[in-house]
């Protein structure tokens, strides 16, 4: 958001009135658009056109390979009210929010680790690297690893740990009650690194003099956190929260590799249900309706984020 502001406030070149200058300006405009052309073409064909087309398709009944027919808002009504269909769709909405519970959990754990890592001590770089590793590793590959960790037999690593603690073994991903918490756990693990890096950058941007001044005034560890770190980290926290929420709405890979939305739709989120409708049931209209609803949800989150970031500028 601040980028666009910069543009508006950047000094405009002095107006030149000679026709030669005007010609030059026109030439520059033409040249500029040549530079923008490759990006614009790709965006037009693969972003803007599909986004609009998505809305159009959502008003059609289109069960491939049979031809499409216009049905207005029927797909939306169907999703929300049909006796067979709507329970699954409602469940997918609930699951989407359930899954995004991982975001605040992630936030708290990452913040604690970032606070721990925010000191000058030998070897801190190695730990930073370690915590970031899950974030850059392919989600498909780590999902396969977690599938194995959560293996429902006694030789699955988590179950063998439970046994050694004297606890009963679990079916993990095959248990409708446990499957989602398992996915959240893996999500927290893989998303932590990114948050830690952002938090560390935020923490390091707080001037040390603030802390020194507060210490002179007699503030202790918790007081320092409450009165300096927390308020100054506010914008960063909010940024991480909204970006995390948007990303969690998009989660697909781990669900597809580990549960395929099961068991009994316990991990079927909107994003996954969209995929199922489009590429397993071939109901393009219904899938597009879900896409439009998901888009509205994401737009809402983005809007909230921009509003807040705008305000946080004044705060600083």
């Amino acid at each position: 958001m601040n980028i666009s502001k910069e543009i508006e406030t950047s000094p405009k070149p002095v107006q030149q009135r000679t026709s030669g200058a005007k010609k030059r300006k026109n030439k520059e405009t033409f040249e500029a658009y040549l530079y923008l052309l490759p990006s614009l073409l790709i965006f037009a064909v693969f972003t803007f056109f599909p986004a609009i087309f998505s809305i159009v398709v959502s008003t059609f009944r289109w069960n491939m390979p049979s031809p499409a027919s216009f049905v207005g808002l029927e797909n939306y009504i169907y999703l929300f009210t049909d006796a067979i269909e709507s329970p699954i769709f409602w469940k997918s909405i609930l699951n989407t929010f359930y899954f995004s519970l991982g975001v605040p959990i992630n936030l708290i754990i990452s913040l604690l680790i970032a606070l721990l890592l925010n000191r000058k001590i030998r070897g801190v770089g190695i730990f930073r690297t370690t915590f970031f590793l899950p974030t850059i590793t392919s989600t498909a590959a780590v999902s396969v690893v977690w599938l194995w960790l959560f293996h429902p037999a006694q030789y699955g690593l988590f179950n063998s740990i439970l046994i050694s603690l004297g606890l009963p073994i679990q079916a993990w991903l095959r248990d409708p009650a446990l499957a989602m918490p398992c996915l959240i756990m893996m999500g927290v693990w893989s998303g932590m690194g990114y948050n830690i890096i952002i938090f560390l950058a935020g923490l390091q941007s707080i001037p040390g003099t603030y802390y020194e001044a507060a210490k002179i005034d007699g503030a202790n560890g918790i007081g320092l956190f409450k009165h300096i770190t927390w308020p100054l980290l506010g914008p960063t926290l909010f940024y991480v929260l909204t970006v995390g929420m948007i990303n969690s709405l998009k989660a697909f890979t781990e669900i597809d590799v580990m549960t395929q939305g099961g068991p009994l739709n316990a991990t079927n989120t909107m994003a996954y249900y969209l995929y199922q409708n489009a590429f397993q049931f071939f109901q393009m209209g219904k899938a597009s309706a879900i896409a439009v609803l998901l888009f509205i949800l994401m737009l809402l989150l983005t809007w909230i984020q921009f509003r807040f970031v705008d305000r946080s500028v004044h705060y600083e």
Binding site: T29, S54, L116, F131, A141, V144, L200, A201, L299
Partner: protein, 296 residues
């Protein structure tokens, strides 16, 4: 009198210093214990992946599980290439990731140059259009883009895996920011010497912005190497699958019991990115932190 107080204060100061040092050592020690414990917990899935990848078909199912494979089965790493065309998957992933990286970087450099260095009609509007693309997520465009690909007859093709990713607004913002830091006087001087705009971009601006170009290339490569949903949808033939998709079908195949080989395959799939990450991790983490904070 004066001397005595000084002596006392000196000794208490020394004592205090000692106490402080002991406290520092203790707190440092505690810090290491806590952080190492967390690091080990975070590394556990990786450790378990490597351990399992060396186990034979019987040891995998042994209870209690062993932490050090009794008879390391390095053959698992050979077996995986025989059981599925991982060589082909690898080639596909490499072709697609490299093509996307080069193409995306090119389009980003050109657009960023226009935004950073040129005055033109509709600049603000254009910038808003670029900005708005970041709000349209791939989930929303999934179905229509698939339909477009189908009508172009691009299913199971490299074009389908590459072309949609040849533009990236985030990359444009990052590069633009970097291009703006280069002083305008340099461009004026170059112009006086008869250097055209495009030549200025190629010969002067780009060499000055190497670090940011490198990190953008890295993001593009890693993101594409790890991408999953689009390649899953757009490829049907085994020969067109990328590594991620190949791994998925390999693991969910019949039987699904060769966990030793699966873990070997999972390791091979994520290894290239891990190696790159370790080679350039300092630049990577720094640019990650600055991308996240300054530009979104």
């Amino acid at each position: 009198m004066n001397n005595r107080t000084e002596l006392i204060s000196a000794s208490t100061r020394a004592k205090r210093k000692m106490k402080h040092r002991i406290l520092t050592i203790l707190s440092d020690g505690l810090w290491y214990v806590v952080v190492i414990a967390i690091a080990l917990a975070v590394m556990l899935p990786f450790i378990w992946m490597i351990v399992t990848s060396l186990k034979g078909p019987t040891e995998v199912f042994a209870y209690p599980p062993t932490w050090i494979p009794k008879d390391p089965q390095w053959s698992n790493y050979i077996e995986m290439w025989k059981e599925a065309p991982f060589g082909r998957y690898f080639l596909n992933s490499a072709i697609v990731a490299i093509a996307v990286t080069i193409g995306q970087l090119t389009s980003c450099v050109l657009a960023a140059f226009a935004f950073a260095r040129m005055e033109f009609k509709g600049k603000n509007a254009m910038f808003m259009i670029f900005l708005s693309t970041t709000m349209i997520s791939s989930q929303v465009t999934l179905v229509p883009t698939y339909l477009v690909m189908r009508s172009l007859d691009w299913i199971d093709s490299y074009q389908a895996l590459i072309v949609p990713f040849l533009a990236n607004a985030f990359g444009v913002f990052m590069l633009r920011q970097s291009f703006r830091t280069v002083p305008r006087e340099l461009e004026e001087a170059a112009k006086l010497d008869g250097c055209g705009r495009f030549r200025f971009l190629i010969q002067m601006l780009l060499p000055l912005c190497k670090p940011i170009l490198a990190s953008q290339a890295l993001f593009a490569f890693m993101g594409n190497w790890n991408s999953y949903q689009w390649p899953l949808i757009i490829t049907n033939q085994d020969s067109m699958r990328t590594l991620q998709i190949g791994l998925r079908y390999f693991v969910s195949g019949e039987g699904s019991t060769q966990w030793g080989v699966y873990m070997a395959a999972a390791l091979v799939v994520c290894l290239p990115v891990i190696i790159i990450y370790f080679l350039v991790q300092k630049t990577f983490v720094e640019s990650m932190a600055s991308t996240g904070l300054k530009d979104i």
